[in-house]
Subunit: 212 residues, 2 copies
């Protein structure tokens, strides 16, 4: 991870870019950090066309974790955007989406892993994927790989057909698109720049984030 | 749970009913049992209009559990019926659906719980729900309530609209409808007769099952 350098605007005068204080997650990597109740996490797709897997665990007891099933139940929908909340397995709201320049995210699919690389990309080098990156980043917080649930896959474009079949399409994001989520409790967050071919249209790009 | 009595056919001669060896799960209750690799589990809706939440854990290590996200990923669909497999969080196929007289099941929503009763049915008595029933039944197998993932909700009718919104409708099952699943590993199974109002159209009915 590196600090994003400030940029010059069109007039050439130095200014801080909108994400001047953002942190970069390098392509095909991941990180974990604490987010305090009330903090806002901004996740930015700096180049467009990239996906970021987000996990959340309660800082006080990481056995309480983000749950797609509880979220689908309480929000009564599988498509989530501004105004919707992400819920835990113990029925606690953890994060609220307060701004969203994209509106297309996925909460159906698990993080890519060595096994999914072998399954879907048998002709390509195996990568530990977002799952391996998250497992390493979350280990210092006492979170076991088996405790990694389905991630909220920011910017991931997974349409569901009428017959229930899925497709993984390239994200619709443009450079600078972002989502902002407010923490509703003290959390441990896992966050990646996705490693899989399909989810990012065959390209591997960074993700930026900022705690506001 | 009670043994199902044998029945007389239309000619009055005694015979064993098709589910004469089935076990009954009483309305709003649950159970857990071991299923050996190769065994076939038949889950029957004896009256029609009821839902059964199914969980599966590896007998050798129950930290490996059924995962809706891995299943959606490998099967490339959220609607599952004959020929589809249910996968674990470690990317192992656990169960294969080998017969299905209904074709409508849900794998999006978590088991109903005290919290979901308070949320959705504030005017009705709180019930511990399928979650509480599963937690009690699975405790002797060393499975913690926090380790209960999204269940495969047999016969549950949850259409998803184009905008991603969900509805929980009464099951389409008729009396005697069933699903058969083959165990692809030695498993611990949790199974309920659902306790929630919406999922069973406001009625509470038993579920029958048989290990073949």
């Amino acid at each position: 991870m590196t600090e994003i350098p400030s940029q010059n605007d069109q007039n050439g005068s130095p200014r801080r870019a909108p994400d001047a204080s953002a942190v970069e997650i390098a392509p095909r990597s991941g990180t974990a950090f604490e987010l305090r109740k009330g903090d806002v996490l901004r996740v930015i797709d700096p180049e467009g066309g990239q996906v970021s897997d987000l996990l959340a665990f309660m800082a006080a007891d990481p056995r309480e974790a983000i749950s797609n099933g509880r979220t689908f139940d309480y929000e009564e929908r599988i498509r989530l955007t501004r105004g919707h909340r992400l819920w835990s397995n113990r029925s606690t709201p953890m994060l609220e989406i307060i701004e969203d320049s994209v509106g297309t995210h996925d909460f159906l699919l698990t993080p890519c892993s060595e096994a999914t690389f072998r399954h879907f990309y048998g002709d390509k080098p195996v990568h530990r994927g977002c799952f391996g990156n998250l497992a390493e980043a979350l280990a210092p917080f006492g979170i076991d790989p088996d405790a990694i649930p389905v991630a909220f896959n920011i910017f991931m474009n997974v349409p569901v057909a009428d017959d229930g079949s899925l497709r993984v399409l390239p994200p619709t994001t443009k450079a600078g698109d972002y989502i902002r989520l407010r923490a509703l409790a003290d959390l441990v967050i896992g966050l990646t720049a996705c490693s899989a071919y399909d989810s990012c249209g065959g390209t591997f790009k960074p993700i930026h984030y900022r705690i506001e």
